[in-house]
């Protein structure tokens, strides 16, 4: 065999192998989607079926009409959006202060924040739960929004980005008589738009996908987020894969849409040392 044919065959095999791996990564989603359009009972067959006999929206109708899914969707959406907006504002302010001001406690404070990132969230769960209980904030949106307002990772991300913004821009604005808040609002925020989008995307996806904290804070059924509702539905309707698949489709669709629209910002976040949720 001449070397050229050999390389061609190897390349073809290589692409075949890659195609196989992508089938493995995507197949669960395809099955999820197709089973969600099946009649009740149709997915519980051997061998597994991939195309519904008759396309039906029955499962989706059941979820929205009888299982209150619209409410859970709304809860997830309200929480993800408000945590994102508030935390981007709060973290960008703090990141700006750390990047562009000098004050005595700056270095030790920043070092303290960074080294605290090693503390796992599970440590603070119980005291924060008790605190929210005392304040009457369990089963309210604030129980998730308040603790999510600031994140060390977010402050760090903004700080890293703003360090590369030249001080001369800020100085020029100051000479023109702009106040510090105006400088933040009119210069810093527009300049850091790419990193703000990255942070917003991470926060939105992290809040939407979060499970443990909403599971703890939202114990009343009408306050469930989608993941909590899904885990709960599974307990009752484990014999109805079609219904559960429709619920899963609804849970992941918004996140896929947001990701596809903004994926280049997400990849940048990973490379800046994004943390996993």
């Amino acid at each position: 065999m001449n070397p050229k044919t050999r390389i061609m065959i190897l390349t073809a095999l290589f692409h075949l192998a890659m195609l196989l791996v992508s089938i493995i990564t995507v197949l669960p989603f395809i099955w999820m989607l197709s089973a969600s359009f099946m009649q009740t009972g149709e997915a519980s067959v051997f061998p597994p079926k991939f195309i519904p006999d008759q396309f039906t929206l029955l499962q989706y109708r059941t979820l929205f009409e009888r299982m209150n899914l619209g409410r859970y969707f709304l809860n997830s959406l309200v929480l993800a959006i408000s945590v994102t907006l508030v935390s981007v504002l709060v973290n960008s302010m703090a990141g700006y202060a750390f990047a562009k001001f000098t004050f005595r406690a700056k270095k030790p404070l920043f070092a303290l924040l960074l080294s605290s990132m090693i503390i796992p969230g599970q440590v603070t769960m119980l005291p924060v739960f008790l605190l929210l209980n005392k304040l009457g904030l369990l089963n309210t949106y604030f129980g998730i929004i308040f603790p999510g307002m600031a994140s060390i990772f977010g402050i760090f991300l903004i700080h890293q980005y703003l360090k590369s913004v030249p001080d001369s821009l800020i100085e020029a604005a100051r000479i023109d008589g702009a106040s510090d808040f105006l400088i933040y609002w009119r210069i810093i925020l527009p300049l850091s738009m790419p990193v703000l989008v990255t942070l917003a995307l991470f926060t939105f996806m992290g809040t939407w996908n979060d499970f443990l904290w909403p599971l703890i804070v939202m114990t009343r059924e009408n306050m469930y987020t989608l993941p909590v509702a899904l885990a709960n539905l599974l307990g009752e309707y484990v014999q109805d894969p079609e219904l559960m698949m429709a619920g899963s489709v609804i849970t992941i669709t918004p996140i896929l849409v947001v990701f596809l629209a903004l994926q280049k910002y997400y990849l940048r976040g990973i490379l800046l040392g994004g943390v996993k949720e």
Partner: protein, 294 residues
């Protein structure tokens, strides 16, 4: 740079207040709680909690379920971690290959599990593992194998969760490895080729050593993430069968929020914290040695 003392604190105040109230003070409170017998009675009346010093930590030492959870978590981390890293490295090298076309498609396909909600995919996988109708047993049937009771047997439950975790997470590390690979200068590979190195030798002597810092980073974030695994067993097995998938976080969740053993639960959380600190110290020691070796 601005010299005004109050301005930076105005910008910092919301973030610092939030972190103080919802993070730093709770860490201290949790430490105190872990030294008390805080339970359901103390929930109504704080005075009912008494200091018992290291009682909760000693209790953990003699609690077989705690050891079981620690063992299971270690199993998940030590098997799932290296598997995830190996798959992500292989995927990154493949994606970085000059021969590969449709790169964007493959990258997106490999990355899809990463971004999707864990609870939703855990629900899907639970059905894929179904002993009678699941796709895994269907595939095995072609080889006249099975059926395997994936989630229902204590031997297979943990490997099943590990497989799900590898599938779900490898894309994340893959992206980090990919960036590391793209930073390796082509001249190094050319030099290796001139020295007569084949494909395998090039990767062994160029890629692997050049990626060492990336690998340390990826290893650390994977291990830290895997130590906290919770949603997979919560949704798929509830820690069973016979506690074979009970994880540290699932156990501290059960102790804290099901049995309201909040003192004990806090102590377990601090054990987890302690393990993570040791790992972080280990990492910085490795990195230091590595930098000295350069």
């Amino acid at each position: 740079m601005n010299k005004n003392l109050y301005t930076p604190f105005f910008f910092l105040a919301p973030a610092l207040a939030t972190l103080l109230i919802f993070f730093f003070l709770p860490v201290g409170a949790a430490l105190l709680m872990s030294l008390t017998d805080f339970d359901i009675y103390a929930l109504g009346n704080m005075d009912r909690a008494r200091f018992i010093l290291f009682g909760n930590y000693l209790r953990a030492l003699s609690d077989p379920l705690f050891w079981k959870a620690l063992f299971n978590t270690g199993y998940f981390v030590l098997v799932g971690g290296p598997l995830t890293i190996l798959v992500s490295l292989a995927a990154a090298i493949a994606l970085n290959s000059k021969l590969l076309r449709f790169k964007k498609f493959f990258r997106l396909a490999f990355f899809m599990p990463v971004i999707t909600t864990l609870v939703a995919v855990a629900v899907v996988w639970r059905y894929m593992y179904h002993p009678r109708f699941g796709i895994f047993n269907y595939l095995l049937s072609f080889f006249n194998l099975g059926p395997v009771d994936w989630l229902g047997s204590s031997a297979w439950a943990m490997p099943s969760l590990i497989l799900l975790a590898v599938w779900k997470n490898f894309g994340y590390n893959m992206m980090i490895f990919l960036a590391g690979l793209q930073a390796i200068p082509d001249s190094l590979y050319e030099a290796a080729r001139i020295d007569g190195a084949n494909w395998w030798q090039q990767h062994l002597h160029v890629t692997i050593p050049q990626l060492a810092p990336t690998t340390v980073f990826v290893t650390v974030i994977t291990i830290i993430g895997y130590f906290q695994f919770f949603a997979e067993p919560y949704v798929m097995t509830q820690g069973g069968p016979v506690n074979s998938t009970l994880s540290i976080v699932l156990y501290l969740y059960q102790q804290g929020f099901r049995w309201w053993q909040m003192g004990y639960s806090s102590a377990i959380a601090f054990v987890l914290f302690f393990i993570l600190v040791i790992l972080a110290l280990l990492q910085s020691a490795i990195q230091k040695r590595y930098q000295e070796a350069l």
